[in-house]
Point group: C2
Chain length 315, copies 2
């Protein structure tokens, strides 16, 4: 823990591996780390593939360093057993930062299953916060519920859009659009940039019948960037800091943190019930029985849940 | 039920609405429908936005009708409260089929939350099967875990790729690539089509350290289509039927159905534990308490789980 608090990269890396593996060691580590959190700015960056997010994250990190602050970067990495490793593109783009002691970069491998990685990523962000990094950037790729889950546990959500991606806004799903705190219009020097900006503005003007907690009173700005040239990066950091001030001053930070705690607890409960069903209620055996007997999934689940309750009592 | 089995559209539509609403009526309906399933070919179609899937589904349906068979189509629809309705593009593209009595089309609205829709979609596919539709097409958009969840419960998974979409294969996530039974290379008349085909072939030749159940012995073919022109549609249907024969003859169908049953049961258990935590273990109250007391999420979840067990015993 001492070394983690000194931001020693190997200690931080080992700690994150413990978090990824799960189990008792993870729960212990989280319990130790959790009270030390709350000082870092935690920013999530997501958007469809091809939006140039890795370059954007790289430029944000460099700007943060230029200001003399430290930054931890978590890249949620859809590793496929097919390709056997991280998306090399990300690593190559961030090579300039890799030797900077004020920067910590980590790929959170999904190994094909996204569920556990959202949790590990949130825990890793807590760890980097506790370790003293002033900024934590969580980069993920994609625009589905996985990504909503991952970025739902940060303070400021950046959704990156670019001109020319098929159906533009339709390509960016419901969930992500609703939780965006800042829209980043990257590759803004290309044709179609104005149209994307107009689409985003129109959507926002239609009103928000349901908004995620922690956003009442904040209208997401659209910040235009051309990441490879570093254009708009300063403005983007300023927008992030402005959002941070809004959260604190409006009391929205509390609402958001409360909702995030609930999401995390729900995720843990879901994992727990499946683990218990496997270990103590004979999930696999029941599936066999159900399949052979053409029993419908609801009847099977009902039986398993009652089995869980009985097993819990006996313990 | 009588009307459902006669494929009466209003009865079928009402039944699907019951499935979407959940609760006891849903469980009852599923129990009644489940023993009647198993005759339809259930095909899932997914891929990134902009891949032309709706047009592909439309052409597939027309070819199915040309052969004198009936088809139910479920479109999983990322409805956003922002835009207030289904993606109009889908509906417009399928207008030609809307008045055909041998075709049933339904959008499964997600209303921003993807979790429940995977379950409702699977139940709706069962209903269409029980109703006597010979084909059920489940179309979804996107390439994340949501989509893996939705298409994981069909017999044959089509993943649609197109040339020119950013990082091509990188844009299509791990999970989807692993569960594809057939790759559809749509817009195959465009530049870059050969490169996409080569990327897919290279990936497959790297071998499959982990494959989804029900796929040992089947090498996913790459079928080239130009959907608006109807090119490749006949070949695609033939490939789907070939896959169906493979599943039956190899015994892989059993392995797959067993795994699907397990996935469905797990999804139901996860929903159940959260519902019980809200209703009987005081989830919201515990979140308040935990937030005020800076209690970490794992400790909170542990307490809630024990509360669930106690509440279950008292019932």
């Amino acid at each position: 823990m001492e070394q983690v608090r000194n931001r020693q990269p190997r200690a931080v890396g080992r700690a994150i591996s413990i978090l990824e593996r799960g189990g008792d060691a993870q729960a212990e580590l989280v319990a130790g780390v959790y009270p030390l959190t709350g000082r870092a700015r935690v920013v999530g960056i997501t958007g469809p593939p091809g939006a140039g997010k890795s370059t954007l994250v790289d430029r944000l990190a460099r700007e943060i360093r230029r200001r003399g602050e430290t930054v931890g970067i978590l890249c949620v990495d859809p590793t496929s057993p097919f390709t056997g490793g991280a998306l090399l593109g990300d690593r190559i783009r961030m090579q300039g930062l890799a030797t900077d002691p004020g920067v910590f970069i980590r790929s959170m491998a999904t190994r094909g299953a996204m569920g556990g990685v959202a949790r590990a990523t949130r825990d890793a962000a807590d760890l980097l916060d506790a370790a003293g990094f002033e900024w934590v950037l969580v980069e993920t790729v994609g625009v589905g519920q996985d990504e909503v889950e991952i970025v739902a546990t940060v303070d400021t959500v950046l959704v990156v859009a670019v001109p020319g991606l098929g159906d533009d806004i339709q390509a960016i799903k419901a969930g992500i659009l609703e939780i965006a705190d800042i829209f980043v219009l990257n590759k803004s020097d290309r044709d179609g940039a104005d149209r994307v900006a107009r689409d985003l503005e129109m959507m926002m003007s239609l009103g928000h019948p349901t908004r995620s907690p922690g956003s009442v009173g904040w209208l997401p700005p659209i910040v235009r960037t051309v990441a490879p040239r570093g254009e708009g990066i300063g403005e983007l950091l300023a927008a992030i800091e402005r959002h941070g001030r809004f959260l604190s001053q409006s009391g929205e930070l509390d609402a958001r943190r409360r909702a995030q705690l609930k999401l995390r607890v729900e995720a843990i409960l879901k994992d727990r019930v499946l683990a218990e069903a496997e270990r103590h209620a004979g999930l696999d055996r029941e599936i066999e029985r159900g399949y052979a007997g053409r029993i419908d999934p609801y009847a099977l689940s009902d039986g398993l849940y009652r089995g869980l309750l009985r097993a819990g009592v006996e313990k």
